[in-house]
Structures are given as structure tokens and as C-alpha cells.
Symmetry: C4
Subunit: 278 residues, 4 copies
């Protein structure tokens, strides 16, 4: 019988390694996941560069972002980003805060992000939030609960919010969907910036974005497991190639083990090599 | 006596590894090859990130993109891209569908791609195709046979077609020519975008592209084996350095084996280290 | 009892490896540190590509940039950059001179660098210096003491100065703060350039930079050990992954050793895995 | 007694590996060196991707680019680029033809390259050459002796010539100077392009290039051995890290061996670890 908590924590760490390897996270940024059984709790690693976190670094917090058990670990200053979004959005089960270099120019210039290729539809509508509007001059970190609540209000029913002069926060109904949205959202921003530059000087100042109908149909397709799992397996392989794979929890089926098993069986459908997630 | 099918499938997987290593393919995209003996069949890996595919993942499809033998494998949603092009173009024996980041900004901005350096002549004329024109709002995947046929019509007698807000599809008379066209086509797009940006602000808004005579003469030269094989050997070496080389089929001469043999002989001409292809 | 000099030299070499790995330094550029006990001395490697320097390559110089003990080593031509800044700035204990490709376009175009995201606040105000102004045509190296003194005057009370058509020089109160400023200063320049390009053609020609209040509050927060140490640990891990870690001095606690010790203890707070620095 | 020919050939292969690792060469491009004893001969590898060439692949050609001894090797189509420059320029002893992506946008847009940072002074004045001017529509390869002679005339007394819609050819008085010019010339182009983009939209359309006096003084300094050797040692280390180092000729002192020897001696000046070249 699989240990759901252990597998969740392992998947959280793998997800974080993926985002570090894909250059969405660097020394800063963090990923969290809601407790699979108790919606009033969430898991997040302690204060450290996200790539370096192991399952043993993960702490369990309340939605007020307080530790459930006493701990000597220092916690992320911006943990309320996660807790306040989990409070405001019962449908969200995974959150990432990052400073990806593909996205930050939009947070700096105020240019609107729109989906410009089919895989970018995952981002949906992307609102802005500027800490200065409500709180004036601050140290620009989302530290106080009211600052996290303000950010969650700006996110609204959407899946990604741009934080002016800071970065972005992304949400998902599960870890794999979150990672899919982070990576292809980053790609979308990179491609949008290049298409904008291209359109500028040659007499056509417009960029062709997805129609609302296209955006809706294609993101629905992408959020189904064959699509998210195919991408997840690819990113996990990149993490393995980079020597960044964490040890699997004891007893849980790992992607590597499942691949070997599937290879031997030869006729096994794709879905046996990936774990079904929400 | 060499097993042509086994060598073809091995070359298909090596070609896919090359395009993944050269960042033309990522979690998405796919490469196929027409059956060397039966023009009504083609080979393509099952639904998975292309870099991860081994020869054992390859399926044989009819030109209607249906499996020749029953299979439990999930197939690529967009397999009809390949089948419909093989139907429309008897001269095409290899097809690649990709979302390369060098090319996609042109598919987003609608900017015309032209060859701007001699190795870029491989792309020829590059038409556009927009799924929305004929099919309105869709999930933006080329899934239905009529959608694949529409794309094949847009490709026409050309070798590359840009798919608006999606990516590109590239064809070749053989695998090595296809890979040459994909990689140097990608380079051409990257260089064209940079030259366009350069021309914009400094008073010269024009980019110098190849004349029709130049394009014809230079692409004819490049499609000869010494040129395509030299590039192929280089890209294979990069795949080996990245630890991405698949196992060679039993009994077939591999590039690595041939190089070792040639090294010992020392006076062997270049052509002995590469396999002659169409 | 720790050997402070040995640990300082080790940290200097690690810092140099970090900047080489992060592409701030290449064949050229250099990092120095003031003597921890004697403010009239500083340490810098001998003339060589910075990435290649080991502790055994480090020499001790006076603030006139003369060797304290006779040496057969060739010294950096531009050592006076360091010595003259240490003379002018008693608060500075670490200096880096680099030609980072993210920063150089600003030194070439004369475009002002401003902090555009919270981590870029570390750079503060960035003045320009042009060797041609005071010295006419030179070989563009800061070789004479008066040239170094001129540069130090241009730096003034700031932490980074742009050297026209040459590169940049960055200062810090300690090594870890210096590296933080170099890396996030480089990121800031890269993001600023991209945001500027984005703002140009789409009707909004402005880039949103940090307010003075924001810049002051956020840089004060970042210069505290939890923040600089978190980033330092991350960059050290990247150096280890690249196989670039120098051997630790005998008897000194190394980051790797401390991490292993902390891992075993499991409950140890973050601060035990990093060394407190000025 | 060192074998000068063996050391020259080894250095030619190391130089080629450096340029491949620094992304100046890819599947195409080539490097040659004039015979150290006989100015009517030069050495160049046979037709193959340059990174793959070993000393055993090198052939000796006359300045008419004909093999000195009968060979079964296929030779580079564009060998006359090298031979004709060696004829026209007795001061040139090393030549590189490349399609570096940093440089090609200038060859495509016709934008003039100027040195914009001190290390870029190595390129000097960079004229253009367009094969179409004298030869009309061709396959764009410099194959005929008269085409090579035309290119050499365009190069004139300079050190780098841009070939429209094709690439660049670079010359040097020796291999190490050639490589220094290729790498920092490539950097210069990359930085110039970025500075140009930066200057465009913000109201200052000018890029600050080196004055003639600066260019002359700084390039003279850079061409002295401490500078070229320091960079060479750095690039060789990158080649070693990439696993691309060729085997050293038997009996010749290799950089790795010399470094080990110098390390043990500890007091050895820098110059003992590098070989003096022209």
C-alpha cells in the first residue's frame, strides 16, 4: 500500500528539481503542495535554495503559514504567498513563486503576457500585482499575511500573477499541472518577447495570440494526463541526466523503476510508466 | 547482409536524439520515416517525449496513420501530420514536426522566413498554414485527417511549412537531409531574427537574403552526401558526448564502429565512415 | 582553532570559481580580498585566468599593489584597481573587476543601469568612468596608480562603477556580499536590457525601476546573512556540480562537510551550514 | 629536442577544439597553419567536422591548395580560402574560416563591425566581401582559386573579413593570436549587437567605439604572450573540462604536464606553464 504522504513529498522535491534544472528557480523561489488529506495544511521546504532541498527539509504549515510542529528550521520569508493562496483558492493544490528571467521583463515593463502558442494557453489570463499600490515602499518581499492576501486577491480565479519588479506566482490543481504551467508559461514569455521584437521594425506591429476559443480548447486538452505526464517524464529524464534526482521514498514506485518494468514488459501502454495525478 | 529495416529504425532514433540534443525537439514534437520497402507504410515512435524513444517504441502505421498490427501503445495525437504528407508527397521519406524556439517567433508574428546564409538555403520557400482559417477554433492539434490534409496542401511542393501559433513541419527525401534542413533551418531563423533587429534602428531596414540563383545552387551542393554526412557525423558526436546515443542494432555497422575501423586503416577516405543514404 | 587566513584565501578562490561558473569572469577579470587582520594588505591571485587559480597562486600585496614578499610570479596588470579602492574605501573588503557580457553593453552604449527587480537593488547607484576623459588614448588597462585612483574617485561611495568600453568594477564589505552583488547585478542588467527592448516598440517607452525607498529597504534585507548565505550555498553547489570546487584548507570546516554534518543532525537550523561573514 | 612539426600539428588540433568548444565552429568551418619551416606549405585537416579532426587527419598542401603527397582523403571544398591568403600575406601564419552565430548577423545585415571593448580591438578594421559582386550567382562556396584570391584582396592588410550571407575569415601571425582574435572578435560582435539594440529606442542612437589611438595601443598590448597565453590556458582548460582534449604528441610538453610541473615547483613564474609562440 503506497504511502501517499511520502510520494507527495517526493514529487514535490522532484518538481522543484525540474524547475531548478529548467532555470525557473535559482538561488531564490519556492514550490509548495497542499496536504493530500488535510486541506488546512501544506508542505514547503525550509528556507534554502530550492534546488538543494531534500524531503527531510520539508515542513508542514497551517494555512496561516505557521509550523504544525515546533521546528528549529528557518522558514521562507514569503511563505504567506502559499498559505494565502491556499486559503483563497480551494481548487489550488500546488503553488510556485519564481523570478524566471523569461518572465521578469514583463513584470518590469508592465507589458501584458498573452498566450502565443498552443502550449502557452496553460497560463490563462495573467493579471498584475504591485506591492507598492497597497503598501507603499516596502522591502518588496511578501511577508505579512495581508500582503499575501493582497496578492491572492490579484491572482483571483486565474493561474498566474505577475508581481511588478519582483517575479511571478503560479498555481495549479496539482504538482504536474503546476510544473507544466511554469515551464510552458516561461517558454510562452520568451517567444512572445521575441515575436514582439520581430514585429516592431518590419512594418507589422502585431503579435498573433490565441483566440479565446483556441485557448480554452487547447488548455483543456493539455491538462489531461497523457499530455502532462509525457512532459513530466521528459523533464524528469533531464533531471536524471543532470545528476539532480533525489532518492525515491522507500517502497514507492519511482519513474526509473517503472520505466525499467515497462521496458521489460514491452507491450505496456504508456500510462503504466507514469503515475496518475489529479 | 545488413538488415535495412533495423538500420532505418536505428537511424530514426539517432535522428530524433540529434534534434532533441540540438533543442529542436523538447517534451513535444516527433520524427517519422517512410518504410524503405513499402511506400504505403511509415514508422514513428509511440506517444512519448521524442528524446526518450528507443527502437522498441517505434510503431508501423499505414498512410491513414492507423497501426499495421494491433498495439496497446498510445499513438501521437498528431500522427496525421506525417501520414497525410506521405500521401501527398511521394518524394518525401522523412517528416519532423517541432516547436523550435528559433522558429516559433516567425509562426507567431507572421514574419516571412527567407534564407539568409548559404546553409539556410536548405529550407527553400516557407509557406504559412493557420488551422483557424479552415477549421475555426480548435484545440490547435492536427488530429483529424482533413486537418493533416489541409496542412499537406499548405506545404505544397515545399520542404517546410510554418504553423501559426504552433510550430513547424519539415520534410525531406531522407532522414539525413531532413535533419540537415531542421538544424540549419533553425539556425537560419535565429540569424534572420538577429539581422532584422540589427537593421531596424541604424538606418538600414533591409536584410540581404540569398538570390534565387544562389539558393538553388547552394542547396543542391549541400544535399550531396559529403555535406550532409559531415554534418551528421558532427551531430552524432554531440549526441555521444551527451550520453544520448541509443544502442546500435545487432550486426549493423555503427558510426562509432566505423570510425574506429577507419582510424586503424588511417588512409581510408571519409566516405567509409558514413553510410550512403538517399 | 580555525586558521582565519587559510579560510579567507579558500573563500576567495571559491568566490572566483563561482563568478567563473556564473560567466561573470572568463579568461580575464579578477577578485581580491582585504587581509582580515591588516587593513594595509590585500590578497589577489597572480596573473592568470581567474578560474584556474588555486590558493597557492595567491599573493599578498600592499595597498600600493606591491608584493609584500619577493615573488617570481607575474602580477595582474590592473592590480591598482584593487589597491586604490582599498585605499579610498576603508569599508570595502572585497573587489571584483570583470567584463561580464550582461553588463558590458551598458558600458558600451552609455545607458544608465537602474535596479529593476528586488535582487538588483544590491547594485545601488552605478556611476560611469571613462579612462579617456583624464588620460586620453591609452591601452585601456588601469595600470598606473593615478588611473586606479581616478577609477576609485568615480566609484565614490557607491558599490559598482561602469568602465566605458571596458567592463565594470564591483566592491563589497565582504566576499559573500561582493559575489551576491556581482551575480544579481549581472542578472539586473540582463533583465533591464530585455525590459527596455520590450518597452520600445509597443507604445510604452518606460521601464519601472525600484523607488528609492524600495531600493533601500530591500537591499538592507538582502545583505543579511540568511539571504547572502542561501545564495552562496546555491552557487557553491553549482561549482561542485561543475567539478570546479578547490580543495578545502586542512582543518577548516568546508560547506560540504558542514552540510553532511547538518544532514545527520536533521534538526540543525540553516545557519549551522553556512559560515558567518562580515 | 622538440619536434616542431608535431607540436605545430598538435596546437592546430587544440586550437580547432577550442573554437568548436567556444561555438565559433560547428559542423562547418576550418582552421589551418602555415608550415613552420616552409612558407610554401600549409597544414589543414581533411574534409570533416573540425571538432572531430585528430592530428592523423591533417594534410599538407601547397599554397595552390594541392596535396603535397598523394592522398585518398577528401579535402575541404574551400581550401583555397587558406592557400590564397597565405600567398597574399607572408605575415599570416594561421587562418580560420567560420560561420559563428555572433558574427553572421553582421554578414547578413551589412552592418559595420567596430571594436567596442578593449579586447575587441584584436579585430582591427573589418572589410566586407560579397562573392556575388565578382562572380554573380554561385553555390556560395569559395572553391575556385580566383574566388579565394578575390577574398584575399578584400581582406587586404586587415585581420578579418566578413563574407556576405556566408560567414567570416580571420587571419593571425600565429595560432594563439588567431584564436584570441576569433574568440574576442566573436564576443565583440555579440556585445556590439546588444549595445546597438540598447541605443535604439531610448533616445541615444550611438555606440561608443574605441578611438584609433586606443585600438592601436590596446591591441599591441594584447598580442604579447602574457595576454594571449593567459587566454589560451583558460580555453585549453575549458576543452579539457569538456573532454575534448586530443592526445599530446609523444615527447612534447603538454599544458597539463607543464601545469603539474609548475605546481610542484610552486615558485615558477607564469611563463613556464605556457609555450612561447610568435
Amino acid at each position: 500500500m503506497p504511502d501517499i504522504i511520502a510520494e507527495t513529498l517526493h514529487e514535490l522535491i522532484v518538481a522543484t528539481r525540474i524547475l531548478a534544472n529548467e532555470r525557473i528557480l535559482d538561488a531564490f523561489g519556492h514550490v509548495s503542495v497542499r496536504h493530500p488529506h488535510n486541506p488546512k495544511r501544506y508542505f514547503i521546504p525550509r528556507h534554502m535554495a530550492p534546488e538543494l532541498a531534500e524531503v527531510s527539509d520539508v515542513v508542514e504549515l497551517t494555512l496561516d503559514s505557521e509550523p504544525v510542529r515546533p521546528t528549529q528550521f528557518r522558514l521562507y520569508s514569503e511563505k504567506v504567498i502559499h498559505g494565502e493562496i491556499y486559503k483563497a483558492r480551494p481548487d489550488v493544490n500546488a503553488v510556485c513563486h519564481h523570478h524566471a528571467h523569461t518572465v521578469l521583463p514583463f513584470a518590469i515593463s508592465g507589458q501584458q503576457i498573452v498566450p502565443v502558442f498552443h502550449l502557452g494557453a496553460a497560463i490563462g489570463h495573467v493579471p498584475f500585482w504591485d506591492q507598492r499600490d497597497e503598501f507603499g515602499d516596502t522591502n518588496m518581499l511578501v511577508v505579512k499575511p495581508e500582503e499575501g492576501a493582497s496578492l491572492a486577491r490579484a491572482l483571483g480565479p486565474n493561474w498566474m500573477v505577475l508581481m511588478r519588479r519582483h517575479g511571478a506566482t503560479v498555481a495549479g490543481t496539482g504538482i504536474r499541472e503546476l510544473i507544466f504551467r511554469c515551464v510552458f508559461g516561461s517558454d510562452n514569455c520568451k517567444l512572445l518577447a521575441q515575436a514582439m521584437a520581430m514585429g516592431m521594425g518590419m512594418g507589422m506591429g502585431h503579435v498573433d495570440s490565441l483566440s479565446p476559443g483556441e485557448a480554452k480548447l487547447t488548455s483543456a486538452h493539455q491538462q489531461r494526463p497523457p499530455s502532462t505526464n509525457r512532459a513530466w517524464d521528459y523533464w524528469v529524464r533531464q533531471v536524471e541526466k543532470a545528476g539532480l534526482m533525489p532518492k525515491a521514498p522507500i517502497g514507492a514506485a519511482t519513474p526509473a523503476g517503472k520505466r525499467a518494468k515497462a521496458k521489460a514488459a514491452k507491450k505496456t501502454p504508456v500510462r503504466a510508466t507514469t503515475k496518475k495525478r489529479r
